[in-house]
């Protein structure tokens, strides 16, 4: 008799778009070791995509994955992990989207979909109850994500869940993302363009099968504890009533905004007054949740007056406030909603699309470029109509937009004229976050393997001002709650890197975790949910160790594919030279010497080599990743001996 597995549908769907062949693999081949979601996706990527395969090569994989808790009643288990080679950095890529797609995939009888190859003409994939079909997408190629979803729901049925790309993905724009439910983005890493390069417009899913857990009654007890923890938490109550964007006030107070392309980190107070979270209330018609999410950080908006009358859209994360509000100096709330809706429709990621646009606004401010470069457009901070024009130009690669479509690093190589000084990126991917005022946050953002981003080790404990006692007890770092301090921050970042990987592997939202608020769920809580769901006993510490393995899989991918080194783990030069100009953290910058010391500590914790930043044999053997040590050795990129005493401050 077939052994029943719990928490999983048990099947991985593989599709080769070049020859249209499908195959099925057992999920347990990977999940026994790497839990699910990002863990499995990254392992497949490392093993199947070699360094000579470019991101847009048909042989690159794109992997859509769920976790063992996806589709169950554990809160906010709606996240879809997306893993592929990164179009911006050429290294590792990983993304994560909410909405209602991931649970539907599980109900349709698949835990993962692994796609390779390139279809001869545009296609979409239709998946339902254990079967998949590759279908002609000529009717929707060129259409927006909203039109695509409408079409597929009309064509198949209204319950179908869709992920799709817009024109940006089809045109291989670096900032192209994948859109789920018309509004939830699988952003960063240019994954919209990866789908576009495969001629894959969309995936539509409908499932009617059950997800089973090993010990239902005991599982529900753990689920209830988790719901209770969430319901009691002040931060969750704030997010539930005022939305994710309500965090913007703290971001301003802690000077972590990327104002006018990182020229400052604290926005003019009167401008923020015009875009306070409360101002958006008048357009909000309801909270709008991801699947089984009691937090509901998102809302649905409808504009009833003015030039954008009848604008309807789901929104929005705090990123909109960083990316288009602070970074482009836009203080008009309806314009911000319009920008969110436009990006969702065109399939553009807010973080990566705002980077090149803010950069050219600064170049214009400094006279480095003029209307001769910009197709006649005057770029004046805060002029949202021009921003929207540039967004469209980027998505369609028209005129000046063709340069913006390359991302800030590549675009600065095209424009030259010392413009790279203002091109703010990490390992080639545009930076989204303001980082100078909060050191632990900054370290986590900069060393993130996918090329910048706050969704790996970046800690909010400083911004949250947790107490010395809690900092000591949880992270062995009393200064964890002091955002200015470099002290012990490497430890906190190391901890969160492992921890966030757990949350991703399980398919849950970070907002349930103690990353969001120190009183929320920790490794032990997740371990209990996992154990009761799958019937496989695990402890929080064991989960953390698997989290560390995943960090090392990603690190190895970066080393093999791009050879990123210590110098790539430093912040953009500008943020080490120019201090914040205003606000409570005026004068703060990232000091090179202290950064270097923090990096040494961080590498030590990982047992990575301080001189190169590469992995050591010792580290990989201890983690049981001998295969990776062998691959690195073959490539001449394994450090066989540690050199703990090496002073490497001068090596960047």
């Amino acid at each position: 008799m077939k052994k029943e597995i719990f928490g999983w549908a048990g099947r991985i769907l593989r599709i080769n778009l070049t020859n249209g062949k499908q195959s099925i693999e057992p999920t347990e081949r990977y999940t026994d070791r790497f839990i699910g979601g990002r863990g499995v996706g990254q392992w497949i990527l490392l093993n199947e995509v070699s360094a000579d395969i470019s991101p847009l090569n048909p042989e690159n994989r794109i992997i859509f994955g769920t976790g063992p808790l996806t589709g169950t009643l554990a809160p906010a288990t709606c996240r879809l992990s997306i893993d592929s080679k990164n179009l911006l950095t050429g290294g590792v890529g990983s993304s994560n989207a909410g909405g209602h797609f991931a649970p539907e995939l599980k109900y349709a009888g698949f835990d993962f979909v692994v796609i390779q190859g390139k279809a001869a003409k545009p296609v979409y994939i239709w998946i339902t109850d254990g079967t998949a079909e590759i279908r002609d997408a000529s009717a929707i190629w060129g259409k927006t994500t909203w039109e695509t979803e409408n079409f597929l729901q009309r064509e198949i049925n209204e319950r179908v869940k869709v992920l799709s790309i817009g024109p940006a993905g089809e045109n291989l724009v670096k900032a192209a993302c994948i859109i789920v439910n018309g509004a939830r983005a699988g952003g960063r890493c240019g994954f919209g363009a990866i789908m576009g390069s495969k001629n894959l417009k969309a995936i539509a899913i409908r499932g009617t099968k059950a997800v089973r857990v090993a010990h239902p009654e005991e599982f529900i007890k753990e689920v209830d504890k988790a719901w209770d923890t969430l319901n009691k938490c002040e931060t969750i109550r704030r997010v539930r009533t005022k939305g994710c964007y309500s965090g913007i006030v703290r971001t301003q107070d802690t000077c972590t905004l990327p104002v006018r392309n990182f020229q400052d980190s604290h926005w003019e107070v009167e401008k923020l007054q015009r875009t306070m979270p409360s101002i958006f209330e008048k357009y909000k018609i309801r909270n709008f949740s991801g699947f089984n999410c009691p937090i509901s950080c998102s809302s649905f908006y409808k504009v009833n007056d003015g030039p954008n009358k009848n604008l309807e859209c789901e929104g929005f994360e705090e990123n909109l406030g960083w990316d288009y509000m602070a970074k482009l100096d836009i203080d008009n709330p309806v314009a911000l909603l319009k920008i969110q809706a436009t990006c969702n429709q065109l399939g553009l990621d807010l973080d990566n699309s705002s980077g090149p646009i803010a950069w050219v606004f600064e170049l214009f401010q400094r006279g480095i470029i003029t209307e001769k470069d910009t197709d006649g457009l005057k770029l004046i901070w805060g002029d949202y109509n021009t921003v929207i024009k540039l967004i469209k130009k980027m998505a369609y690669r028209s005129g000046f937009g063709n340069i913006l479509a390359e991302g800030v690093k590549r675009a600065s190589e095209i424009i030259e004229r010392s413009s790279e000084k203002y091109a703010i990126h990490i390992k080639g991917q545009d930076l989204a976050e303001g980082i100078r005022a909060a050191k632990g946050w900054a370290l986590g953002v900069v060393v993130a393997p996918r090329g910048g981003g706050h969704l790996d080790g970046a800690t909010m404990t400083g911004i949250q001002q947790i107490s010395k006692e809690v900092g000591k007890a949880r992270f062995d770092t009393p200064a964890a709650g002091d955002q200015r301090s470099y002290e012990g921050k490497a430890k906190v970042v190391f901890w969160f890197e492992k921890f966030k990987a757990i949350v991703d592997m399980l398919g849950m939202c970070y907002f349930t975790s103690l990353w969001m608020d120190i009183n929320l769920l920790g490794p032990e809580d997740y371990a209990k949910l996992f154990s009761k769901a799958t019937g496989k006993k695990i402890t929080g510490n064991q989960l953390m160790q698997i989290g560390e393995q995943v960090c090392n899989i990603e690190k190895a991918f970066n080393t093999l594919h791009k050879g990123f080194k210590r110098k790539d783990d430093f912040p953009p030069k500008r943020l080490m030279k120019e201090a914040i100009n205003s606000g409570p953290f005026k004068g703060e910058l990232l000091e090179k010497e202290r950064w270097s010391k923090m990096l040494d500590e961080y590498y030590n914790l990982h047992k990575w080599d301080k001189k190169t930043g590469w992995q050591t044999k010792e580290c990989l053997e201890e983690l049981g990743l001998v295969e990776i040590a062998n691959i690195l050795k073959k490539a001449g990129k394994l450090i066989e001996k540690t050199n703990k005493n090496l002073i490497s401050d001068k090596l960047i």
Binding site: A210, P216, F288, F300, K302
Partner: protein
């Protein structure tokens, strides 16, 4: 409150509903100890273009007999579901 399964009804306040569908999977758990919206008595359909939500409860609903409280209601944190 104690529920009179003959007289009481579940009242749906759509304005409060977030479209999360926790009620659907809670209901399937009540019937099967598994998670599967397809077998639920309660059904939620979201329109992601307009933000509209449709909810219906069909005749298979047994008002969660054997449970202290209807499970759909227990997991509806936005209190869109109540007993009248």
């Amino acid at each position: 409150m104690s529920i009179n399964r003959e007289k009481n009804r579940i009242y749906i306040n759509l304005n409060k509903c977030t479209g999360c569908r926790s009620c659907e999977i809670a209901c399937s758990y009540h019937f099967s100890k598994t998670f599967n919206p397809e077998i639920s008595s309660i059904s939620v359909i979201r329109n992601d273009r307009t933000g509209d939500i449709k909810i219906s409860i069909n005749s298979t609903c047994d008002f969660c007999k054997d449970e202290d409280k209807p499970l759909c209601m227990k997991y509806c944190v936005s209190q869109a579901l109540s007993i009248i």
